[in-house]
């Protein structure tokens, strides 16, 4: 069958609806996760170099710009963690307990609770062992 069809452009597809914009936000949040991981990696490298470079890295983190970055990064981290768990059930085979399928909402809630618990534990561990 030969016929002249019209193919519509795809440019700007993510502006078409809220679902696409939320998806783009989820994907974009990973950029901030990467940036923060790099900051931590630099800290590790500075620690390996000795006390003075490590203290200089810590001092650099105490500047207003670094603090502002942390606040923004924290926001994107929360967004990233939540959206990650929200899609997690899609990546899993059906899980059954006592013959019934575990609902997606329970999996999302369990994942999110585990993330919150792990964050709290880490925070308390750092708090209790502070100099």
């Amino acid at each position: 069958m030969t016929q002249r069809t019209y193919v519509r452009p795809t440019a700007g597809w993510w502006r078409r609806n809220g679902h696409y914009r939320a998806y783009m936000l989820r994907e974009a949040s990973s950029v901030f996760v990467t940036a923060y991981a790099l900051v931590l990696l630099v800290g590790l490298a500075r620690l390996a170099q000795g006390r003075a470079p490590f203290e200089a890295w810590r001092a650099a983190l105490a500047t207003p710009w670094a603090l502002a970055f942390h606040v923004v990064a924290l926001g994107f981290f929360v967004c990233h963690a939540w959206t990650w768990f929200a899609v997690m059930p899609k990546t899993l085979p059906f899980i059954r307990m006592r013959g019934r399928r575990v609902p997606d909402e329970a999996l999302v809630a369990a994942g999110a609770c585990a993330a919150v618990a792990a964050s709290l534990l880490l925070f308390l561990a750092v708090w209790w062992t502070r100099p």
Partner: protein, 255 residues
């Protein structure tokens, strides 16, 4: 088809028009259609064709959300026009366009040739593990075994999920949501032994790995199929298959 005009109310239906013989690109045409609160968008389109403009071209068949013919974009959202009511668009009116990500043949009609080819590649039928004859009798399944694939078997090939998938729009080679959901429907069936034969489609760059889990396909599906889940479960199976081959190049067993 006749709609009793017992109302003076009208609603504006704006249709994308494209005539391949005379148009270089689509245009829009608005029709004022008599409105009652129990009319579907499809009935509105039928009124246009019967009473206002016989040249308007669109697909439809069953009028009851089972044939999968009347998928359209309604105000930019993929939906079956037979189960979408005009009252949801009152009084602003509704814009009706052919499903996005597909070439337009004429007006609201799209070319699904690409999908039909992809559907064929996933071998959407039961491939028995061993040859069977009728005398072997029925093959019973437990409710849990049926639950593994039942919702995927509800697909009506309406292509709303392809219109919802930006990856299909950007990467037309992508096997896509419905075809991969149907692939999983048979792989997940305890009576089927064709998983190894379908693995090549799953493993391909254009298979499950073209999906970035936008997830909108599962939102727009009118039959409760969850293509996003079918595809992303098979990313795990594809990874297992990859390592199984790395460790045992002759092995072909996939769970």
């Amino acid at each position: 088809m006749s709609i009793p005009v017992t109302t003076s109310k009208t609603i504006a239906i704006e249709c994308l028009r494209y005539n391949p013989e005379s148009d270089t690109e689509p245009r829009y045409q608005t029709y004022d259609v008599p409105y009652t609160d129990d009319m579907s968008v499809l009935q509105g389109l039928q009124y246009i064709k019967d009473h206002l403009d016989g040249s308007l071209t669109f697909r439809w068949s069953c009028r009851m959300a089972i044939c999968g013919s009347c998928g359209t974009m309604l105000n930019g959202v993929p939906a079956l026009s037979c189960e979408s009511f005009l009252r949801n668009y009152w009084p602003d009116g509704v814009r009706v366009e052919p499903l996005v990500n597909f070439p337009i043949v004429r007006d609201l009609v799209i070319d699904q040739t690409d999908f039909l080819h992809k559907l064929d590649t996933v071998k959407p039928w039961l491939i028995p593990r061993e040859p069977r004859v009728l005398a072997d009798g029925a093959r019973p399944q437990t409710p849990a075994q049926m639950d593994e694939y039942y919702q995927y078997s509800q697909c009506i090939n309406c292509l709303l999920c392809y219109a919802a998938c930006p990856q299909y729009g950007l990467t037309p080679g992508f096997t896509g949501p419905a075809a991969l959901a149907l692939l999983h429907r048979y792989n997940a069936d305890s009576r089927d032994g064709g998983t190894a034969e379908r693995m090549e489609v799953i493993n391909a760059e254009e298979g499950v790995w073209s999906c970035t889990l936008v997830g909108y396909c599962s939102v727009v599906c009118p039959k409760g199929v969850d293509p996003a889940r079918a595809i992303n479960q098979n990313k795990i199976n594809s990874t297992k298959d990859y390592f199984a081959h790395l460790l045992m190049p002759r092995g072909r067993e996939v769970p």
